[in-house]
């Protein structure tokens, strides 16, 4: 055990003291946080304060529209027809960002155009659409009904037959949650691939510079293999933990300082709409105001549930694939050899990514169920499944996946140990699948 720890420590040291490791430790989280920032900004792109001119020659809206629901969108009225060219070029209209054209037949044909100068963000578009629809609704009620606005809206409210999982009674969006699981699964796959290749290159390099002969004169080949896998894995875990901490700190910083207005908007909007509006409208309005990325990042990730299983499956998955990578490294005749066997392994990892994608889109398919029990795809499948929620009484399926993966990992480590032992001192040959089987049978 002491030898394994010494070899592991050497592997950790070799990696951690490497300049590229330190760089990736810092640049990785910065890259991810930059992506998050850009995604949030992209989802909220366009001008923040928008001034909309409503051309209402028929005076249908009677110069009234509720602008208090979104302080970022201001409305002004003009009671004449306004040509697009005039709006576009005319000096008095240069301060307006969009022209909303209310034709006289709008109450019948329900057709309205809005012409914008610069593209309006989805949030602004939704806000304008929502505000305008509500005002038209009020006009229609006044014109064609004796009902009060509140009574009409009460009647208009459609029957809401909401299908909810008993594991998810708050009806958080499963598809959206699935992407969170997919994100965690992808992290497992990418780290496994990256550090698996690191094991392979490490073993191949030690074979090439022949230090392996000195090593196996001191420790047994399976000890050397385990030391390598544990050491490289510890470096991977270190990078993962540091990255996660940095990313979480970054997200907290974003929440407090960069995206603070989003969070402010969420609370404000609820308070404003609650005056006289029903729950459905309130929710709808809130959804319009929310930024989807913010929502996904800050509300949808159940870290207390995901993180423990993420680390558990990350570790086992790493050992499972790491054993494959180490045995290929040991069996390689030269440093450039072994591509023929690396490719299928990389394809299996990529297949896992595809399986996760498919599972998010088709969570109830047979394929999704099977993927949980295949060791190659289990880490990704379990992450996706876990984020979407297991059905009541089916939580044990997670532990079945875990057990299958764990037993497969022990089996593959045992086989890899045998191949490692027999092939480590073979040099200068061409690696083939046949030679792997031959080594497996040699003691």
């Amino acid at each position: 055990m002491k030898s394994i720890l010494l070899i592991s420590w050497k592997e950790i040291r070799q990696r951690v003291l490497n300049r590229s490791f330190v760089l990736s430790l810092i640049l990785g989280p910065i890259f991810i946080l930059t992506c998050v920032y850009l995604l949030v900004k992209a989802a909220d792109e366009g001008k923040k304060n928008v001034h909309v001119l409503i051309a209402d020659p028929g005076d249908i809206l009677q110069g009234v529209i509720s602008s208090k629901e979104d302080p970022n969108v201001q409305y002004s009225f003009v009671s004449d027809y306004l040509e697009i060219d005039e709006f576009s070029m005319g000096k008095p209209y240069q301060d307006y960002d969009a022209l909303l054209e209310v034709n006289e037949k709008v109450l019948n044909n329900k057709k309205v155009f809005i012409f914008y100068r610069d593209y309006l963000s989805n949030r602004v578009q939704n806000s304008i659409r929502f505000t305008f629809e509500r005002r038209i609704e009020e006009v229609l009620i006044e014109e064609f009904s004796d009902l009060t606005v509140d009574a009409f809206r009460q009647l208009k409210q459609p029957l809401n037959l909401d299908f909810r999982s008993i594991m998810n009674p708050t009806n958080s969006d499963e598809g959206e949650a699935g992407w969170v699981g997919y994100f965690f699964g992808s992290i497992i796959i990418l780290f496994t691939l990256f550090y698996g290749m690191s094991i392979l290159r490490g073993v191949a390099r030690e074979k090439a510079n022949r230090v392996v002969e000195v090593m196996v004169s001191i420790v047994s080949p399976p000890q050397l293999m385990m030391g390598k896998i544990i050491g490289v894995g510890a470096a991977a875990l270190l990078q993962l933990v540091v990255s996660l901490v940095l990313i979480l700190c970054g997200l907290y910083f974003f929440q407090e300082f960069l995206f603070s207005d989003f969070f402010l908007n969420q609370s404000l909007s609820g308070a404003q709409v609650s005056e006289g509006a029903n729950e459905l409208l309130q929710n709808e309005f809130q959804r319009v105001r929310n930024n989807e990325v913010i929502h996904l990042l800050y509300d949808r990730i159940n870290l207390t549930l995901m993180l423990p299983f993420f680390f558990l499956f990350f570790l086992i998955s790493y050992f499972f694939y790491g054993a494959f990578f180490s045995l290929i490294g040991a069996a390689m005749g030269s440093e450039g050899d072994g591509q023929v066997l690396i490719l299928p392994l990389v394809l299996l990892l990529l297949f896992s990514l595809f399986a996760g994608y498919f599972m998010v889109l088709n969570p109830s398919s047979d394929f999704s169920s099977i993927c949980q029990y295949i060791p190659f795809t289990a880490p990704m499948a379990v992450m996706v499944k876990l984020s979407m929620g297991y059905a009541m009484g089916e939580g044990y399926l997670l532990w079945i996946s875990f057990l299958i993966l764990l037993l497969s990992t022990f089996l593959i480590l045992w086989i890899a140990g045998k191949v490692f032992k027999s092939s480590l001192l073979s040099f200068g040959h061409r690696l083939s699948l046949k030679s792997l089987f031959r080594w497996r049978n040699r003691t």
């Binding site: 030898s3 010494l6 070899i7 050497k10 070799q14 030690e206 510079n209 022949r210 230090v211 392996v212 002969e213 000195v214 196996v216 004169s217 001191i218 420790v219 047994s220 001192l425 031959r438 003691t443």
Partner: protein, 306 residues
């Protein structure tokens, strides 16, 4: 020290060692000789537990060789291998700890060998930045850093300059005098003759000879004599008669000539002296010793003929 008994080892259908039995005596330097493919590397790897025998067994100090014994064995492989991104000091402490030394012992031993092998000036440099000779020294230090009882050295002097060859040779003699056992695998016969008291000769996976050097030489008496004389060449040649054949001769200084003769039949040095007396003035005469190359080739030829 090391007892190898009826050991056989095959790789697939190819036999690398066939029923090998021999002893490596304690406190001696034993030379391991053999042509390429003779089974030397396989034998060395068996002694390091890198391979396990198909048949037979190996004993270390009377006990069956097992993993625990490895901390008492030092190994210098022919193909040198070190961690290129480790400094000399890191390299030594890492391998010392791996061999079972505590942190303090490893540090202290590393310091000792850095001093002893005159590596202090570059002990903090990475191995990849060292010259071949410097790296050889580090490799040697790695093999001995844990103060092993038994040293297996495969071509230990290759790559060293004459000064460092002397340094390492003297160290090996020190080890021997301290009671350590050394197995020296080399193709350099002169080195074996200079350094070893025993030899093991392998060929095609079998032991051709395993004995002390003196016993080996006893069985190989030379047919050649070397004579130094003063006088004329014609007189010298006439004096030989048909008992000795002149192989070659070389004029030295002060009128002295050195001649190499091949004896015919059962002739002795006395016979030669009798023949020459009265014809030339004899300065020196001795029987030429066979060298290791001759014995090596002769033994292999003998085995091939059998």
């Amino acid at each position: 020290m090391i007892e190898i008994s009826h050991v056989s080892k095959s790789f697939r259908r190819k036999s690398a060692l066939n029923n090998v039995s021999l002893n490596i005596p304690k406190g001696k330097i034993t030379g391991l000789l053999g042509p390429n493919g003779a089974g030397k590397t396989t034998l060395i790897r068996l002694m390091n537990l890198m391979y396990f025998p198909d048949d037979g067994f190996l004993k270390f100090n009377g006990q069956l060789l097992k993993k625990d014994h490895l901390k008492n064995i030092g190994y210098l492989p022919e193909e040198r291998g070190l961690y290129p991104d480790f400094s000399v000091r890191e390299q030594l402490t890492f391998f010392a700890k791996l061999r079972g030394l505590s942190n303090a012992e490893a540090e202290s031993s590393a310091n000792y060998w850095i001093e002893k092998l005159e590596m202090k000036a570059w002990s903090n440099k990475d191995v990849e930045s060292l010259s071949k000779g410097m790296a050889q020294k580090v490799q040697f230090a790695v093999a001995v850093v844990h103060d092993p009882e038994f040293l297996i050295l495969d071509e230990p002097l290759t790559g060293f300059d004459p000064i460092n060859i002397d340094l390492i040779k003297n160290l090996l003699f020190e080890f021997r005098d301290a009671g350590k056992t050394i197995l020296l695998s080399t193709h350099n016969m002169q080195r074996v003759q200079d350094m070893c008291s025993h030899i093991i000769l392998l060929n095609k996976g079998e032991v051709v000879s395993a004995s002390s050097i003196s016993d080996l030489f006893k069985g190989y008496v030379s047919n050649h004599f070397v004579v130094r004389y003063k006088g004329t060449g014609i007189a010298f040649a006439n004096a030989l008669w048909t008992d000795f054949e002149l192989v070659n001769q070389l004029e030295l200084t002060d009128g002295i000539t050195e001649a190499r003769l091949l004896k015919r039949g059962e002739k002795s040095v006395d016979d030669l002296i009798k023949n020459l007396q009265g014809h030339v003035s004899i300065e020196a005469v001795h029987m030429e010793q066979p060298d290791m190359d001759d014995i090596f080739i002769s033994l292999l030829e003998k085995m091939e003929n059998e």
